[in-house]
């Protein structure tokens, strides 16, 4: 066994050995299930970076060549050449799959395939958007995402393609379908529980993790932008009660209760996602009796009242990373959380003095949260409390 049980992060083998020793489980089946959760990629990143840089540099020069020589003047030309290059790239990639990775021709085919994907995607997007504006761009990005997602086992490529599709879809809804930022906001916030479900559901393959992260990431970026613009957060309510009308991305101001209500609805969706995640992480419905969960729900609802959805998405990322032992997600969530808090305070546009007072008040609220957790959630459990919670399925959290 490679890791002791008192280590911070236990490995799958440790857990299987523990279960086998204590409960005599079916070890073979447990190993098979664990193996399904692996995502094998034997071509290390540093080699793929070199191939990728080579493909991007040569692809960029190739695009300049085609541009200067007039091959790409018409939108249709760009689309056709792009589809041809992407098709060729996929063919080359599929051909190289059966090759011995130790040969030089494998590297050449990989690099050629990357080059084709890079130039093909750019040409398809520019060609399709030239032909059909937002609608064309959306279908262009969607088409190449669907064409490459199951073929290229590259996390970053899958993430970027999914995020590109979602962003172009947002532009489509805002511009072509002329939906209000509030309606789009509600739809975008629904992507958070969807992303969490895809990421956490035991029966959904690991290959869809980039899609899940793209859903949560795009929602987080949207929520941040919306808060900075005053569509989300406290500002819609201040503007509503002052009779100023709620801000919108198109620059106009909408009056009425719809703006603040939409903000509240977005907040509610994110609150439910965060509470759902915490309850899931702590073992399901039975954990609702745990003081830790009760205190977390109280703090979440406090954030919900302030409509700080991007802050809550940051918290979701931190908890998700913690529960899944995924430090990168936790780190990104922590950085994002700080950025959102800074923007949340800055977006109030109150001046240095008031901002300073708000910050000190916020620090006092956090300090109250600290004492709440320390002396109520953690401090006053019965002697056998930890056992009791464990039996309820709470991960002692």
């Amino acid at each position: 066994m490679s890791h002791a049980f008192d280590d911070e992060s236990l490995m799958a083998t440790d857990v299987i050995a523990y279960l086998q020793g204590k409960y005599q489980i079916d070890e073979t089946q447990a190993i098979a299930i664990s193996q399904e959760r692996l995502n094998y990629n034997a071509f290390p990143l540093y080699l793929r970076i070199l191939i990728g840089v080579g493909a991007v540099v040569s692809g960029g020069l190739l695009l300049i060549f085609m541009g200067i020589s007039g091959l790409l003047d018409a939108d249709m030309n760009r689309l056709v050449v792009g589809i041809a290059m992407l098709g060729l790239a996929i063919y080359v990639h599929q051909r190289s799959r059966d090759r011995d990775q130790a040969t030089a021709s494998f590297v050449a085919e990989q690099q050629l395939s990357f080059l084709g994907v890079f130039t093909g995607k750019i040409l398809i997007v520019t060609g399709a958007s030239g032909l059909g504006e937002e609608l064309g761009a959306f279908f262009g990005v969607l088409a190449f995402t669907l064409a490459t997602y199951w073929i290229y086992d590259l996390y970053v490529d899958r993430l970027a393609s999914c995020a590109g599709t979602l962003v172009s879809g947002l532009f489509l809804l805002l511009s072509t379908f002329d939906l209000s930022a509030q309606v789009v906001g509600i739809l975008v916030h629904l992507m958070v529980p969807l992303g969490l479900a895809i990421y956490l559901h035991p029966r959904i393959k690991q290959a869809y993790n980039p899609l899940a992260i793209a859903l949560i990431g795009v929602a987080a970026a949207f929520a941040l932008g919306a808060m900075a613009e005053g569509i989300l957060g406290v500002r819609p309510w201040i503007e509503f009660f002052n009779g100023e009308g709620v801000s919108s991305w198109r620059g106009d101001h909408q009056t009425g209760i719809w703006g603040p209500l939409a903000s509240l609805l977005m907040s509610l969706i994110t609150c439910c996602s965060l509470i759902g995640l915490v309850v899931w992480a702590c073992g399901g419905k039975s954990s609702l009796r745990s003081r830790y969960v009760i205190a977390t729900i109280a703090l979440t609802l406090l954030l919900g009242v302030a409509s700080l959805t991007s802050t809550m998405i940051g918290l979701i990322a931190i908890i998700l990373g913690y529960v899944c032992h995924d430090r990168l997600i936790t780190l990104v969530g922590a950085v994002f959380l700080l950025v959102t808090l800074w923007i949340a305070i800055h977006s109030l546009q109150m001046g240095l003095m008031t901002t300073g007072i708000v910050l000190i008040l916020a620090s006092l609220v956090l300090l109250a949260g600290y004492f709440l957790f320390r002396y109520w959630s953690f401090g006053d459990q019965p002697e056998n409390g930890s056992q009791e919670i464990a039996e309820e399925g709470v991960p002692h959290a």
Binding site: S9, L61, V107, D326, L328, I357, F378, H396, A397
Partner: protein, 377 residues
């Protein structure tokens, strides 16, 4: 599998030895009927020990509360800066300086909190100098400020033995060098460019050499453990390579297009830096693939830039159509990076053959069956 591992990929086939056990794995085991609810509860207690969760939550809350309070206090101070009065304006940075210095001495520089307080002391010296120069209208220019800041902070940096503080001090030294050369040396732009690039390369070289010398002389001394991490050296090497690539690219362009004004020695020196770093990394780091990647990337990028500049010169001389220049440039870039990838893979193979036992310790768990992951439910 963690997102980091998912993105980065793996040197060797991954085994479940390297797969962290998490909530999702436990739920999958339950849903497939391998374990029951009692075992599930037992596992949660094992995976998420109560004490460590408590510590994370409490420290995060306390950290956020402190950060909010400090920023809030700073904002209130900034809002009322002009109304504070001379004594308070002068006294505040000095108070921070004295308090953090006293705190660092009290806590001890062997502790992280002491090192952090020493860093605050070093930064507050800059604050004291800025306020002094503003209040007494010393007409202090940037070299005056940065020079004194560097000098006064040096004893603290030396005593603190804290790498992030060293990196901050080196950044300040680089800024000071650029400003000093810009203000105190006269000459054409090319001379200043040469002087700045070479001064910065020499400073970084000297610091890396000093680190290696100290570690070589004290191989087992715990007193020098703070200097052993490789990341500061990697940062300095990246900085040196960026400088050498930028300098060589501009100077090579000048050399081809503006005649022989550029001495060939300048170009050769850059080549020596890039080749020297690569050779040294191969020899000293025992094939640290990420350092070698950065070095190979710098050399590959440099060769591509030089190929494109050379082609431009040929096309200009013969008055050929420019579009072909970009096509040939694309082919050259493809070829250069293809060769770089083959070279790095060869180094990787050498590394793997040098450590035959560094492979997997549980061969029966590696497996080709992993490849069928995409098809598994």
């Amino acid at each position: 599998m963690s997102t980091y591992r998912h993105i980065v990929g793996n040197e060797d086939p991954v085994t479940i030895n390297e797969l962290p056990a998490d909530r999702a794995l436990v739920e999958t085991l339950v849903s497939r009927g391998v374990i029951d609810r009692q075992m599930r509860r037992d596992l949660f207690g094992l995976l998420y020990p109560r004490k460590s969760t408590e510590k994370v939550v409490l420290r995060s809350l306390l950290g956020f509360a402190t950060a909010f309070f400090l920023f809030g206090f700073s904002a209130i101070l900034a809002a009322n800066w002009n109304d504070l009065g001379v004594m308070l304006r002068l006294g505040l940075p000095q108070l921070i300086f004295a308090a953090s210095l006293a705190g660092a001495i009290y806590k001890g520089l062997d502790k992280f909190s002491g090192k952090l307080l020493a860093s605050v002391t070093a930064v507050s010296i800059g604050g004291v100098l800025i306020v002094l120069s503003q209040e007494f209208q010393l007409n202090a220019d940037a070299p005056w400020l940065f020079g004194r800041w560097l000098l006064l902070a040096l004893p603290i940096v030396l005593c603190a033995r804290f790498l992030p503080l060293w990196i901050a001090w080196i950044c300040l030294l680089n800024i000071y060098t650029i400003i000093f050369i810009g203000e105190h040396f006269s000459g054409d732009e090319q001379f200043l460019f040469d002087a700045i690039c070479w001064s910065l390369i020499l400073i970084s070289t000297a610091l890396v050499a000093l680190q290696q010398l100290l570690l070589k002389r004290n191989p087992d001394s715990p007193d020098w453990d703070w200097l052993r991490p490789a990341w500061p050296r990697l940062l300095l090497l990246i900085w040196m390579q960026i400088l050498a690539v930028s300098h060589l690219s501009f100077r090579y362009g000048d050399f081809l297009f503006d005649g022989l004004e550029t001495p060939a020695i300048m170009i050769l020196l850059d080549v020596v830096v890039l080749a020297g770093i690569h050779g040294w990394l191969r020899k000293s780091t025992r094939f640290d693939m990420w350092s070698l990647l950065l070095s190979t990337l710098a050399i590959g990028g440099q060769l591509t830039i030089m190929a494109v500049i050379s082609l431009a010169k040929v096309f200009e001389s013969h008055n050929w159509d420019w579009e072909l220049h970009f096509l040939l440039g694309a082919i050259s870039a493809f070829g250069i990076f293809f060769a770089c990838t083959l070279y790095l893979r060869k180094l990787r193979d050498q590394q793997r053959s040098a450590t035959p036992d560094g492979d997997i310790d549980n061969a029966n768990l590696t497996s080709d069956s992993i490849e069928s992951e995409e098809d598994a439910p």
